[in-house]
């Protein structure tokens, strides 16, 4: 009896070891910025009653139902319940818009809807309404995998984004990749350099004391390398977002995330 027990436990041990090795081999080297935050910031993001990004989500929910424009239509009039209709939407953006004849990000799509369907003036970029509405739509995809569309029309823009990501610029002559590929996980002054996956935008950044989009974050990086930032809504930002989202394919959406 004894030897067989020993044998079984050895066997189960061997199985356990091999699964550990398999897990280590298949483990995704990509890390969301969430994993490298302090425990307190992580707790803030996990708890919806402690996450100040939820204020934007609540505001967005109100805007979703607000009847605006000359046609007095709301988002809900066409899309009904956002929890159903917008599920997974943010995970697919930027996508190709035939109306625009180019790639649009989620915020661009919201403004396109406002202009063409609601006949209302577009929200100012990076304004509180647009951030609120995109946070509300983004939250409906929380926990889902980022799934950029396989659309051949997007490919040239994605390649443009990749080129921008690897292009040195600014007085300091840095590319995005110089920090976020070569030195990710290390520190720039006291702050950890993340891998730069746009998993939780629009997000509440403690440094901003408010919610902001990926474009605001990219703008901060461009200023950091002393390059001239593109204007909000510029095609360069959309191209970069396309590339970053394809780089983060399969990672979970965290909107509205918290970041230091």
């Amino acid at each position: 009896m004894m030897p067989s027990v020993a044998f079984t436990s050895m066997l189960s041990c061997a199985v356990a070891v091999s699964t550990v090795i398999a897990a280590a081999q298949t483990r995704d080297p990509r890390r969301s910025g969430f994993e490298d935050m302090s425990r307190e910031s992580q707790a803030m993001q996990r708890d919806d009653t402690a996450n100040p990004g939820m204020f934007a989500v609540l505001e967005g929910e109100e805007l979703w139902r607000a009847k605006v424009g000359s046609r007095k239509t709301s988002c809900a009039d066409c899309h009904q319940n956002a929890e159903v209709s917008m599920r997974g939407a943010a995970a697919r953006y930027p996508s190709f818009s035939t109306a625009w004849n180019g790639p649009v990000d989620l915020q661009g799509q919201i403004n396109l809807c406002r202009e063409t369907r609601q006949n209302a003036p577009p929200f100012p970029l990076e304004g509180p309404e647009l951030l609120a509405l995109s946070a509300y739509v983004g939250k409906q995809s929380r926990g889902m995998s980022i799934a950029p569309p396989d659309d051949a029309r997007l490919e040239p823009f994605r390649r443009q984004g990749e080129a921008l990501y690897n292009m040195r610029q600014g007085q300091l002559n840095f590319s995005c990749a110089n920090c976020h590929e070569d030195h990710a996980g290390q520190r720039l002054a006291g702050s950890l350099i993340p891998q730069g996956h746009p998993t939780g935008y629009p997000l509440y950044r403690l440094e901003w004391q408010g919610i902001g989009s990926l474009q605001r974050r990219l703008r901060g990086c461009l200023i950091g390398v002393r390059a001239e930032p593109y204007a909000y809504g510029a095609e360069e930002y959309i191209a970069l977002e396309l590339f970053l989202m394809s780089r983060a394919r399969g990672m979970a959406v965290e909107t509205p995330a918290i970041r230091p």
Binding site: A50, P52, F55
Partner: protein, 105 residues
């Protein structure tokens, strides 16, 4: 005045519970320059009070250098249930009061 998020858990009698509140407020320090030589006037929440059935159970005074959207968490010993009121008052004299039912089993 603003949006408020309150996390008030159910409690067992005699248990110590943590109550968490978050209020939307800019908490303007009064030191941020406008660009024309003047500063944005100070506008912060000065005071937070929590009452249970009209009796004060927690109070906090707030000062500059507290970030926007202040998050206040505190613990109380659950002895009786009832109506809990939370009120915030800011520099402009605006006040916000929220009520919630505190359930003690």
């Amino acid at each position: 005045m603003a949006r408020v998020l309150i996390n008030l858990p159910k409690a067992k009698r005699g248990e110590i519970v943590e109550i968490r509140t978050l209020i939307q407020h800019p908490m303007e320090t009064g030191y941020r320059p406008k660009g024309d030589g003047t500063s944005f006037p100070r506008d912060i929440i000065r005071n937070f009070v929590c009452k249970l059935n009209g009796i004060e159970v927690f109070r906090a005074d707030l000062f500059p250098a507290i970030a926007a959207n202040p998050f206040i968490a505190f613990t109380i010993k659950a002895e009786e249930g009832g109506t809990m009121t939370f009120s915030w008052i800011d520099d402009r004299g605006r006040s916000q009061t929220e009520t919630a039912d505190f359930i003690v089993e």
